[in-house]
Each structure stands twice: as structure tokens, then as C-alpha cells.
């Protein structure tokens, strides 16, 4: 339904536009304050890097009341055709389970916005498509080249962003999503999300053809599965080093347990879908990079370690009956022993953490518990592991943090047989 309505809305505005080389998609919701800068920078970047390419700007708006679509049209000007579709109106509907949550962009029904952009890209036969968040203040004109050139010139299907983030920022990605996905699919992609993505026209078609827009698959937010689906489908995935990401966050994604349930739940869900793919994958390999060499940030965000350990201990005290169902006896014994350790000596071993995540994946598949409960009960364990990670690395150099993440990834990969064995015979 969404694709038909989106294309109908676009066609009404694109009278004499044939096929296009580049489509710039911008999902918005009340972003008038920031969208002008994003659009102007994007148009400048595309014009500078690809002067001969035909370009269309597509704004998928969720019903802004502050004149966002008009601001975009004004910023683009007359030189480039601009389309504005209302992705939550005129027959396009969002999954009711996903409406309550907003991504960092604050765009309701972000999945439908992406679906609308992909549909228009497919209908226009676009060779490359870039989707940008309307509230990224740190966008630079070079981003367009970094996100689009691999698609247009190197046959890349997805160019995922890689940001230089302060120490410990994105710790959920670094301690679960990245190492687990890397061990599963064998690609050393950092699985960072938001800001901007580059897609090939073919990949847009793959996304549209897959059953990703309804049911169980549509529950996690779209950013959590874009890269996973591309990697699992055997697409050519690249990474673009985009520097810092400064975003006007309307909502930081909600409380930790909800964020964890969304992101980790997405990885676990696609483990079921792509079981045949990941079971046969061996050691991981690097993905091609574009942009300046990645350097870890020297900036550090404050972390309340005491609060994290307190959260972990409370989990040990109160969630034991639930963990008994989820974790294997050996894993549970290891976790319980940590509940007695003093804060200064607190150390959550890497192998125990990997075993915990793998046990949760197996329990998720076996549905031993309501899935949302299972995922949310993982939050205190994650807090314990993060506290331990911070304690281990806080006095070290930025490179030490990267080395610790690399060690974790290595352990996830080396312990993959444990996962496969439990996954098959549970």
C-alpha cells in the first residue's frame, strides 16, 4: 500500500522527470530549524562531486506543522526537482507496534519514510540513493561523495556510516551488536547507525522485495536491520568514515531496556531468518572503507559506574528466577559469583559476557519467555559488562578501548561453535 501511494504522490509532482542517477531522501518531522542546512549541504555536495548526474530530492514527511517541506523546497531551489510525500497519510500506515517509539531523528514511522524513498528510487531507476537525517548538524558536503561514490563507481550496494564518537558512546553497539553481527556474518562493519546512508538502486529493490515492512520484522527500528539484511543478502557493503556526528536529538531512544530490546531483538530476529547464512560463515574479513582513516576519539563521556554496578547487583538479587530460565547453569554460576565482588575488583569476563549473549540468543529462539521480557531482563547484565569495560579501560589511551573491543569481537568469533551447538540442539 505504502509504495503505491508514495509513488502516486511523487508522480503527481514529477511531471517531466525521467530516470535519475541520484536520489537524495530526507525523512522529516518538524525539522524546519535544521533541515535547511542539511539540504543545502547535500545539494552542494552532490553538485560538486557529481556535476553531470541527474538528481531528485525526496522528502518523506510525517506531517510536520512547522513548514519543513516548504523549507526543503526553498533550500533546494528550482534547479533540482523536489518531491514531498506524506509518508503517514493517504493510505500509508505505520506498524502500530512501532509508532510509540521514535528514533534519534524523532521521525514517527521512519520505516515507512524509508520505504517511500526506496519505492520512488526504484520507480525512477535511480542508480544511487542517499538518505540523510534532517537533524544532523555535522553534515559536510564531502559526505555526499563518501556515501555515493562507492555506489556509483565501485558497485557498492550499501555505504554505512562510521562516526568518530566519544569514548564509551555507543557501548551497546560495541559490546553486543557489532561483535555479535561480525561473528555471525563475517563482516567487520561497525554497525553504526543514523546520520546518512548510501544505497544502490538494486539494494533499494532488495529491501522492497523482502518481507521487512510488516509483522515481526518491522518491530525493531529500521536502522537496526538495514546493514544486517544487506550483509546477509550477500550485498557489497562499504563503510564511510564521516567524522563526528552531531545530531539534534529529539529523543535519545528512550530508556536503556527499550533501546536494548529493540537493537538486540533485531539481531536475534535476523539470526532466525538468516540461520543458513551465518551458520556457515567462518572468520570475519574487513569491509572496504572510504574517507579518512578511522581514529578513535579522545573525548570521553561521563559514566556513572557505581550506578551501573548497582543495577547489575539488583538484577542478580531480583531477576534470578528469570535468568535461571534464560541462561545455562554454567553462565548463571559465573554471573552469580560477580554479584558478590567489591566495586573496585568488579570484572565481568569477556568469555562470560559472550556466553551470556549466546545463551540469550538461544533462549530468544526457543521462546522460553515472552521475548520482550527476555530482552529487557538482559539490561542489568549489560550494565555489569559495561561497568567492567569502563573500569578496565578508563585509564588507558583511546586505542586501548579499540583494542578491548577488538578482543571482544575475537572472543565472539572464537566462541561461535558454542552458539551453533546450542542453537542446533536446544
Amino acid at each position: 500500500m505504502t509504495h503505491e501511494v508514495a509513488w502516486r504522490q511523487a508522480r503527481e509532482q514529477l511531471h517531466d522527470v525521467g530516470s535519475t542517477d541520484i536520489l537524495v531522501g530526507i525523512p522529516t518531522f518538524n525539522d524546519a530549524k535544521t533541515v535547511e542546512h542539511v539540504v543545502k549541504t547535500a545539494v552542494e555536495g552532490v553538485s560538486r562531486s557529481f556535476p553531470h548526474a541527474s538528481v531528485v530530492v525526496v522528502n518523506a514527511d510525517a506531517g510536520s506543522q512547522d513548514g519543513t517541506p516548504e523549507a526543503i523546497k526553498q533550500a533546494v531551489g528550482e534547479a533540482i526537482p523536489t518531491v514531498s510525500v506524506q509518508h503517514l497519510a493517504g493510505g500509508m500506515t505505520a506498524n502500530p507496534f512501532t509508532l510509540h517509539r521514535l528514533s534519534e531523528t524523532g521521525v514517527p514511522g521512519r520505516e515507512q519514510a524509508f520505504q517511500a524513498v526506496f519505492t520512488i528510487a526504484a520507480e525512477l531507476g535511480s542508480k544511487a540513493c542517499v538518505i540523510l537525517d534532517a537533524n544532523v548538524r555535522s553534515i559536510r558536503a564531502e559526505w555526499m561523495e563518501l556515501l555515493l561514490q562507492p555506489v556509483l563507481e565501485k558497485k557498492a550496494d550499501l555505504v554505512a556510516p562510521l562516526y568518530c564518537r566519544p569514548r564509551y558512546e555507543g557501548s551497546l553497539t560495541n559490546s553486543v551488536v557489532y561483535p555479535l553481527s561480525r561473528a555471525l556474518y563475517g563482516k567487520q562493519l561497525r554497525w553504526q547507525t543514523g546520520g546518512g546512508y548510501g544505497f544502490s538502486g538494486e539494494l533499494a529493490g532488495v529491501y522492497l522485495a523482502k518481507d521487512l515492512w510488516g509483522g515481526e520484522a518491522a518491530r525493531p527500528w529500521i536502522d537496526s536491520w538495514l546493514a544486517t539484511v544487506a550483509v546477509a543478502e550477500g550485498c557489497d557493503v562499504w563503510q564511510a568514515s564521516l567524522g563526528a556526528k552531531i545530531q539534534d536529538s529529539k529523543q535519545s531512544g528512550g530508556e536503556l531496556a527499550v533501546v536494548l530490546a529493540q537493537t538486540v531483538g533485531a539481531v536475534f530476529h535476523f539470526m532466525e531468518v538468516y540461520q543458513d547464512v551465518w551458520e556457515s560463515v567462518g572468520a570475519s574479513t574487513p569491509v572496504p572503507m572510504t574517507g579518512p582513516a578511522y581514529e578513535p576519539s579522545t573525548e570521553t563521556m561521563p559514566m556513572n559506574i557505581e550506578r551501573m554496578i548497582h543495577g547489575f547487583r539488583q538484577g542478580v538479587r531480583d531477576l534470578l528466577p528469570i535468568w535461571e530460565i534464560i541462561l545455562s547453569p554454567e553462565t548463571l554460576a559465573g554471573v552469580l559469583a560477580l554479584g558478590l565482588v567489591e566495586e573496585e575488583e568488579f570484572h565481568f569476563p569477556v568469555s562470560l559476557w559472550v556466553q551470556t549473549v549466546y545463551d540469550c540468543a538461544v533462549a530468544f529462539r526457543a521462546k522460553v519467555l515472552h521475548r520482550e521480557h527476555l530482552l529487557k531482563s538482559l539490561a542489568p547484565l549489560y550494565l555489569g559488562r559495561t561497568a567492567s569495560f569502563v573500569l578496565e579501560t578508563r585509564d588507558g589511551r583511546p586505542e586501548d578501548v579499540e583494542d578491548a573491543v577488538e578482543t571482544l569481537c575475537g572472543t565472539f568469533e572464537s566462541m561461535k561453535p558454542y552458539l551453533i551447538e546450542r542453537w542446533r540442539f536446544q
Binding site: E104, P166, Y168, E169, G170, S171, L172, T173, V177, T193, S249, S252, G253, E255, L256, A257, V259, L260, T263, M301, P302, M303, N304, R307, M308, H310, G311, Q314, G315, D318, L319, I322, I325, A366, K367, V368, L369, H370, H373, K376, S377, A379, P380
Partner: protein, 233 residues
């Protein structure tokens, strides 16, 4: 005199023999019903167990949190076994009641119709009880996880209050459905529930006034508790 005595004896013997002759087939019918009931119930139980095993019913119950909920109530047997036993006793009791009815005793004359009249209520009450227990377990678990993640010290107390609140409410509904002391149950439930709410209100008003004030102030003035500034994703 001797003739009269003889006649009385013969008549009494005839009467008793007649009564016994009339009762024996009924007794035989009762015994037959019990025997056939036992065999049929065993066969039904066997079939039910085989079917439940074939459709992986125990695994389904595990997933739906029925098995853990029953385990918490001290029932550790597999749910399929419980259903098998239940089917055995339902079938056996049906046959037994038919046998008792066959005796044609004045005391058991309306037994079957009375039992058949009660059965829908019992069925509805059983479904209600099962649903209520599942709901209590689900919300209790959800509350426990949410409270632990919010680092509320009384997480287990909150979860237990929710779980037992739903259980008590369910039991009251079940008793009402069965028509057992309806007025007393409604009155008892109203008094208990009202009492709890009143006690909580007084406790909060007297003991937790400052905490409630702080919490409201924090909420209304958008004062966030001391949380990490870091983004986890």
C-alpha cells in the same frame, strides 16, 4: 398360627428376592459403567497424551509461560500430563454418574441433570482461572523487570503486589462465576481492595509525603535523575 407365620416368611422372602432381582441389574449396570468408564478413560487419556505430544504441547506451554507459572504454584508435572489426567477423570466421572443414575435411587434421580447444568459454569471458571493466572504471571514479570531496570529497591514487592492483586481479583471472579457465596465474595473483595487503597493512601500521606512531593516535583519540573549522558547505540 403356624400357617400365618409361614405365609409371612414366604412373602417376605418373595418381596426381598423380587427387590434384589430388580436391583441386581442396576448394580450390574453401575459396575459395567464403572468398568467401561475406566477403560474408556484410560484410552482417552492415552490418545490425548499422544496427540499433545505430537503437537509439542509441553513446549508450547513452556513458551507461553504456563509451565513456569504452574511450577511457581508447586505443580511440577508436565502440562500434557495434567491435561491427560483431567481428561481421564472427566470421562470416568461421566460414566460413574451414568452408573449412579442407573441405580434409580430417589437421592440420585436428578444428579445427572444437576451436573450437566453446572458444567458450563465450571468450564467458564476454569478458563477464567487459567487466563487470570497467566495474566498475573505476565504482568508480575513485566513489573519486576521494569522496576529492576528503573533500579527501584522494592521491585519484588511491586511485582508481587501486582501478581497477587490479579490472582485475588481472578479468584473473586471465579467464585462469582461458580455462584459460591456471591454477595460475600463481592463484599469481601470490595472491603479488601478498598482497604488496601486506603492503607496505601494513608501510608503515602503520612510516611511518604516528602518522597511523593520530590517525585512530583521532579516529574513536573522535568528534573531528570542522575543518569549517564552517554548514548548506548
Amino acid at each position: 398360627m403356624s400357617e400365618m407365620w409361614q405365609q409371612a416368611m414366604v412373602e417376605a422372602f418373595r418381596e426381598t428376592t423380587k427387590r434384589v432381582a430388580l436391583f441386581l441389574p442396576k448394580l450390574l449396570a453401575l459396575l459395567t459403567f464403572i468398568l467401561v468408564g475406566l477403560i474408556t478413560a484410560q484410552v482417552i487419556r492415552f490418545l490425548v497424551l499422544r496427540i499433545l505430544k505430537a503437537v509439542r504441547f509441553d513446549q508450547l506451554c513452556e513458551r507461553m509461560s504456563i509451565t513456569p507459572a504452574l511450577a511457581k504454584a508447586g505443580i511440577t508435572k508436565p502440562v500434557s500430563d495434567l491435561v491427560g489426567r483431567l481428561s481421564f477423570w472427566v470421562v470416568f466421572l461421566l460414566f460413574a454418574f451414568m452408573g449412579i443414575d442407573a441405580l434409580d435411587l430417589p437421592a440420585t434421580a436428578k444428579l445427572m441433570s444437576a451436573i450437566i447444568g453446572v458444567l458450563p459454569h465450571v468450564f467458564a471458571a476454569t478458563v477464567l482461572l487459567l487466563f487470570g493466572l497467566l495474566l498475573a504471571n505476565f504482568f508480575g514479570e513485566a513489573a519486576l523487570i521494569a522496576a529492576v531496570n528503573a533500579q527501584i529497591q522494592e521491585a519484588r514487592l511491586i511485582a508481587n503486589l501486582i501478581r497477587w492483586g490479579i490472582v485475588i481479583f481472578t479468584v473473586a471472579m471465579v467464585l462469582t462465576q461458580l455462584g459460591i457465596a456471591t454477595e460475600i465474595v463481592v463484599a469481601a473483595f470490595s472491603i479488601t481492595f478498598g482497604g488496601i487503597v486506603l492503607a496505601l493512601a494513608i501510608a503515602l500521606g503520612l510516611g511518604g509525603r516528602n518522597i511523593a512531593k520530590d517525585a512530583l516535583e521532579r516529574r513536573l519540573r522535568q528534573k531528570k535523575p542522575d543518569k549517564d549522558e552517554v548514548s548506548h547505540i
